[in-house]
């Protein structure tokens, strides 16, 4: 807000010349780090900050509740909330990051962090942790590390998510098959899918097509002991692994076990409209923290009771990865003490955690997580989400090093090539070759 007043004053007093000079100076100053940022230290938080997050109307209400709690505890600070839906959020963040005008507390995600590192957009929060302004002692180190980029702590994780397979328990029971078991490998999973498909009505598939999902491949690679990316930000797996993965899913499609590519491509993105909620598939990949949304939507559509399982295991066991959402302070923030105080409150305060109810992934503080798991107020579906996260985090899953532009470079390319493969435009071998070549070029640039 201070910047706004300053700009208006210049325009009023000095006319265009002063304004142009001031604008040019400001444009030059921001990238050089000449910002009014102050270190938190022992300064009592005061003034105004803006908190910017992504979310649906429910999450917005929960976040507003946390903001109200914070303002009651810190009357000298006024927090302006600003929210957008997921897609809009990243469009706006990209522009504001380029302009170095991000709000003082900006929600980020471990997969996107590296993108904002090269421009020195985000502040290294290590100093605030060392000074005690932000307490991370209750957070597992592996979770905290998801907010680190090249040794700099750029995000304090507050919600941890993972990928899972949601399945229709009623369909499975009706088919007379056992419910899927944690620890199955791909061969066991595939055999189960084929038996399930044989009992399903025409037009219903045992599983949706998941071979197009780069997150599913990430998990598959980790079950074989590979990382998606190495420390240099290049591909960390051999082409043969990707060929095997796409080969498995191509077989599922050819055998009629997985939904065809055309059906997959026309599926809406939201959980409420997903094929599992509409009863068109029995198994569907969903983010683990959206399981309760699927359960709720499936109750309305009356397609059956939903269960959740982890992806099949491999020679190296579990391949799951933890994806965290967290809070960052931009380097251009002019009220660091208040921003640090808000982040500390959001990630550590028991009342705040209770109000937010792990709406964007499991709460990362271990004690707060246990409170929610043991609380009677937590619904069974959310308890399953939290317990599954606790199990995964207890398995010491490896940290994924997402390179800059991960979504644009890797995820989109993966989807493009896999759609060509599953629509029959390209063979698995040719698709794998073209993907590896293009990904190497894109990641290098």
């Amino acid at each position: 807000m201070a910047v706004k007043q300053k700009g208006r004053g210049i325009a009023r007093r000095g006319g265009w010349t002063k304004m142009v000079v001031a604008t040019a100076t400001a444009l030059l100053a921001v990238p050089l780090g000449m910002t009014p940022a102050a270190s938190a230290g022992t300064t009592a938080p005061s003034g105004n900050i803006t908190y910017f997050w992504w979310g649906d109307p429910i999450r917005n209400q929960l976040t507003d509740a946390v903001i109200n709690l914070y303002e009651k505890a810190h009357p000298a600070v006024k927090v302006q909330g600003e929210e957008l839906a997921w897609t809009n959020y990243w469009e706006k963040v990209t522009v504001e990051a380029a302009a170095h005008t991000l709000p003082c507390v900006t929600q980020t995600q471990s997969r996107e962090l590296e993108t904002y590192t090269s421009g020195k957009v985000l502040m290294d929060l290590n100093s605030l942790v060392k000074s005690g302004d932000i307490n991370v002692s209750g957070m597992p180190k592996a979770i905290l590390d998801t907010g680190m980029v090249n040794g700099k702590l750029e995000m304090i994780p507050y919600g941890a998510a993972y990928d899972a397979l949601v399945y229709n328990q009623s369909m499975v029971a009706k088919a007379g098959l056992p419910q899927p078991q944690r620890g199955w490998n791909y061969a066991q999973f595939g055999a189960w899918l084929k038996k399930l498909q044989a009992k399903l009505p025409k037009g219903v598939y045992a599983t949706n097509l998941t071979g197009t999902d780069s997150d599913a491949f990430l998990i598959y690679a980790q079950t074989y002991g590979y990382s998606l990316f190495n420390k240099a930000g290049q591909l960390g797996f051999p082409a043969s692994l990707l060929q095997n993965f796409w080969g498995i899913w191509e077989n599922y499609v050819k055998e009629g076990v997985a939904a065809p590519e055309a059906m997959y491509a026309s599926e809406p993105t939201s959980s409420e409209e997903s094929y599992i909620v509409k009863g068109r598939v029995a198994v569907e990949a969903e983010p683990g923290n959206q399981y309760s949304d699927v359960v709720s939507a499936a109750a309305t559509s009356k397609v059956g009771k939903m269960g959740m399982m982890l992806y099949p295991y491999g020679p190296h066991g579990l391949g799951e990865a933890i994806i965290t959402s967290g809070l960052s302070i931009p380097a251009s923030c002019n009220n660091v003490p208040a921003a640090a105080s808000f982040i500390n409150f959001f990630t550590n305060n028991a009342a705040a955690a209770k109000a937010f109810a792990s709406n964007n992934g499991a709460v990362t503080d271990t004690a707060l997580l246990d409170n929610q798991i043991n609380s009677k107020a937590t619904s069974p579906s959310v308890k399953l989400e939290l317990n599954t996260y606790k199990y995964i985090s207890g398995q010491h899953v490896p940290l994924v090093l997402y390179p800059s532009g991960y979504t644009q470079v890797f995820t989109d390319l993966f989807l493009q090539v896999s759609e060509k493969i599953f629509s029959g435009e390209e063979s698995v071998a040719a698709g794998t070759k073209s993907f590896m070549q293009q990904a190497k070029v894109d990641l290098a640039s």
């Binding site: 706004k4 700009g7 604008t23 444009l27 957008l84 809009n88 380029a98 309305t300």
Partner: protein, 297 residues
């Protein structure tokens, strides 16, 4: 290669035996059937949207491509217009922004177009080429520099970044459209007005503007529709939900990472079509005339 018609030839001959009056009636009937069929195809998505908007909760998302007339209610309209997003205010915001942008575009484009079409000044040709060249610049290239400029002017979070550029002649296409129209006006009018003592301002206001109404109406309509449907501008520059415009409000109904509200989305989307359709119907005659007379297709 032989071909056997599935319809016996004598049956088709009845058309030739019809009297001219009956033949014309038959042709009109056929024409109407075809038009009605096309109308059904065109109106189907709108009808579907309306019926879906009458479903509450997740049943709106689950309606599929057909129609489901069970458990219809107007609840989505009520909750959308008075709920947390308060679309009644969003409609007023959109209307305000659209009207201000239309006024800005009409003022700046008309003056610029008059200058290019009627005045003689140094570098007129190259400047017009620059104007046409501006049409080739992708809007995405300008997003970040414009944002930085408006941020440091202290006007982010207001309607000024959305409205102000239209008062500065940013709409090169509309200037081009008006230049084309004004060039078609007879030069004799300039001479007659000058003999009567008209300066450029009087000639512009009393002669060019009244004669350019079709072109101005075309600019106004395109500008209104562009403004009404604009998502990116409000997304970047508005952060206070009280200032949101309709497209920004609609986009808030859907979130891939949480629960979406399809019923509300459908209801407010249906309502958002009404002003555009009304504006188009009211000015349809001018729009067609404007496009025809400026040679645009």
């Amino acid at each position: 290669m032989s071909y056997t018609s599935p319809v016996s030839a004598p049956r088709l001959f009845f058309l030739f035996r019809l009297k001219p009056v009956r033949l014309r009636a038959f042709q009109a009937l056929l024409r109407h059937i075809v038009v009605i069929c096309l109308l059904v195809v065109i109106l189907y998505p709108i009808a579907w949207l309306f019926v879906a908007s009458l479903h509450t909760g997740e049943s709106a998302a689950l309606m599929g491509v057909g129609f489901n007339f069970n458990h219809l209610s107007l609840a989505n309209y009520g909750s959308g217009l008075t709920g947390s997003l308060d679309f009644s205010r969003l409609f007023l915001n959109s209307l305000l922004v659209a009207v201000l942008e239309v006024i800005g575009a009409l003022l700046s484009c008309t003056m610029a177009a008059y200058a290019f079409a009627r005045l003689r000044f140094p570098l007129k040709g190259p400047l017009f080429a620059v104007l046409i060249g501006a049409l080739l610049i992708p809007g995405q290239v300008l997003i970040v520099p414009q944002f930085i400029l408006f941020y440091h002017l202290g006007v982010v979070g207001t309607y000024i970044p959305l409205v102000l550029p239209h008062y500065l002649g940013i709409d090169a296409f509309f200037i081009f459209l008006e230049v084309q129209f004004i060039r078609t006006l007879p030069r004799e009018l300039d001479d007659a007005a000058r003999i009567d003592g008209c300066g450029h301002v009087t000639f512009l206001l009393r002669v060019v503007v009244p004669l350019s109404l079709p072109a101005l109406a075309t600019v106004a309509m395109f500008m209104f529709i562009n403004s009404w449907n604009d998502l990116l501008g409000p997304l970047l520059y508005l952060s206070n939900p009280h200032l949101y415009t309709v497209p920004l409000g609609l986009s808030e109904f859907i979130d891939n990472t949480g629960q979406s509200s399809y019923g509300g989305l459908y209801a407010m989307s249906f309502l958002s079509l009404v002003p555009v359709a009304g504006f188009f119907l009211a000015g349809q005659r001018f729009l067609v005339q404007g496009i025809a007379t400026t040679g645009l297709k």
